[in-house]
């Protein structure tokens, strides 16, 4: 065999140096987690209490009240009898096949994740829309968040915060927040400049323009982002259960390792049912806001 040279083999870094880098970075992270872990953990405590409280609320409320409330929300936002009947049937089937508790756990964590994503995502999207500089910084970060394999940041988060709901929420939010940020930014940027000019001419100040013109006109796009965020959050349910988040993800994991296909299929379908409910509600709501606006403008 020919002697190896830099022409045939990539001149890679020395193995010892590489090991040294890996070890010192790992060591630094451990040190950081030892020193600041508890502080960061207590920072998330309020969120944890809320998560536990909300899950308990959903679990301890009798099933028929939950069905009535969920259907009520669906009906108020979508105003479609067909959809409401479908929701009742889907929830009854979930309960009948013994997946009620896990579905409630997943419902609670997904609801919280969606609220956190919206609460963080829309302001960031607005900031991005207002400044090209912010946009050029945030965009690559969003790319990383969407493509980085979840386990790469899951295990460091577990080292910092332990297993359970909080790291689960963080992982889900990291993965699910980009669409709402991107589409808020896009929606506001797409608002017709002449409309804004008209608003300025009527003497609207910056915040009046934002709340009265930009956000309402961008609403359909923003809602599409919210919708995508919810879908992506639901897709992360199984990954989140790999760090001890209770819910529909755990039986799915169990069925993967044991090859219980039916168990996997049932729980997978329950996740799909939740996704469809969330999806139809947010889409119908978005459509109604749009129709309402068309009505006032014409």
């Amino acid at each position: 065999m020919a002697k190896e040279s830099w022409l045939t083999k990539f001149p890679a870094m020395d193995r010892q140096d590489l090991t040294a880098i890996k070890k010192s970075l790992d060591g630094a992270y451990r040190e950081f987690s030892r020193n600041y872990g508890e502080l960061i953990e207590s920072f998330f405590d309020p969120l944890l209490y809320f998560l536990v409280w909300f899950e308990k609320l959903l679990l301890e409320t009798p099933w028929w009240i939950v069905i009535i409330v969920v259907t009520g929300i669906v009906h108020l936002s979508a105003r479609s009898v067909k959809l409401s009947v479908g929701v009742v049937i889907a929830l009854c089937l979930i309960g009948y096949f013994g997946m009620w508790d896990n579905t409630m756990r997943t419902l609670s964590i997904i609801t919280v994740c969606t609220l956190v994503s919206i609460a963080l995502g829309i302001p960031i999207g607005i900031m991005m829309a207002r400044s090209n500089r912010v946009q050029s910084i945030v965009n690559p970060i969003l790319d990383i968040m969407q493509t980085m394999p979840a386990f790469v940041y899951l295990i460091p988060v577990v080292m910092l915060l332990g297993i359970g709901k909080i790291p689960g929420v963080i992982a889900v939010v990291i993965y699910a927040i980009p669409p709402v940020i991107r589409l808020t930014n896009l929606g506001i940027r797409l608002v017709d400049p002449e409309v804004l000019e008209a608003a300025t001419a009527y003497g609207a100040n910056k915040s009046q323009r934002l709340w009265g013109v930009q956000l309402p006109l961008a609403m359909p796009t923003i809602m599409a982002g919210v919708n995508q965020t919810i879908m992506m959050a639901l897709a992360m349910v199984v990954v989140a259960s790999m760090i001890g988040v209770k819910g529909l993800g755990q039986p799915v994991l169990k069925s993967i390792t044991n090859q219980y296909f039916t168990l996997g299929l049932f729980n997978g379908l329950a996740i799909v049912a939740l996704a469809i409910i969330f999806d139809r509600v947010s889409q119908a709501y978005a459509k109604r806001t749009q129709r309402h606006m068309e009505g006032t403008h014409s």
């Binding site: 259960s241 001890g244 993800g249 755990q250 169990k254």
Partner: protein, 333 residues
Amino acid sequence: MKGLVGIILIFFSMMASAVANEPCGKVTIADMNWSSATFIAHVDQFILQHGYGCDVGLVPGDTMPTTISMMEKGEPDIAPELWVNSARDAIDKAVADKLLRIAGSSLSDGGEEGFWVPEYMVNKDPSIATISGVMANAKLFKHPEDRSKSGFFGCPAGWNCQISAEHLFEALKLADAGFELVDPGSSAGLAGSLAKAYERGEGWFGYYWAPTAVLGKYKMVKVDFGSGIDFDHFTSCTTQEECEDPRVTMYPPSPVHTVTTEAFASKLPAVFEYLSKRSFTNAQMNTLLAWMEDNQAEGDIIMEEFLNNHESTWTLWVSSEVATKVKKALAEL
């Protein structure tokens, strides 16, 4: 153009004849996704390749998928470290049906399972090394989500040990002491929770197994249930899903075997003989795994380190002729 095709043809026929000359042929080894198994797979790969002239490929694997694929499709040929208890019935049946053959123990002491607590806690209060001590100090083991409860970290969802850990949790009446069984979701989640507690000197009580890099790195003490091992009850009840009345028993050593397909074993008896001799003690494996962890080494690097520095161990597994060939290949690395 014609010339190019000719060259390619000659090249391929040369490759084909080179393969045909080997007596061994193509062999696939399951490269399981945990460190000790991946290390053994790499050692086997190197020795089979250079000592027996096989054309070896590693395929990623995990206990259940690999076992099932070996039974159903006869591939991969070798599972170098199979924890037999985790698929007891399936493997017993496959061995009886002449689909699989057990070559020998990869870990001669067998795997060690149990409920563990960190060593620093035992140093502070020696009573924690026993189950009554753990239960009396339940407050020290915080639940990750609910501060008012204590947490016991069980086995990841879907693993066979989930059943035994649950039954023992029940038999030990840990719930009465304020413990709640926490499902860590995955082995990464379980290891992460242990590492987090250990780095900060917090309490941790849960299921784990050895030899593993985690237990090589973090010094843990196996909690004594004070019951000894009740082997019959363990196999007939503790590990079974339908166990009405689980009793307390320690985990018996878990057999860890090298398993091959029957077709492979009958085709290549010489290689099979090597596989039946290749075995590690837990002490050896723990040292190697700790080295691996310290150097963040991958399977191929620890393999090199092992073959270079532990000659007295591996030369016993092969004939002197094979050993010379392997040594020659090692020198060329």
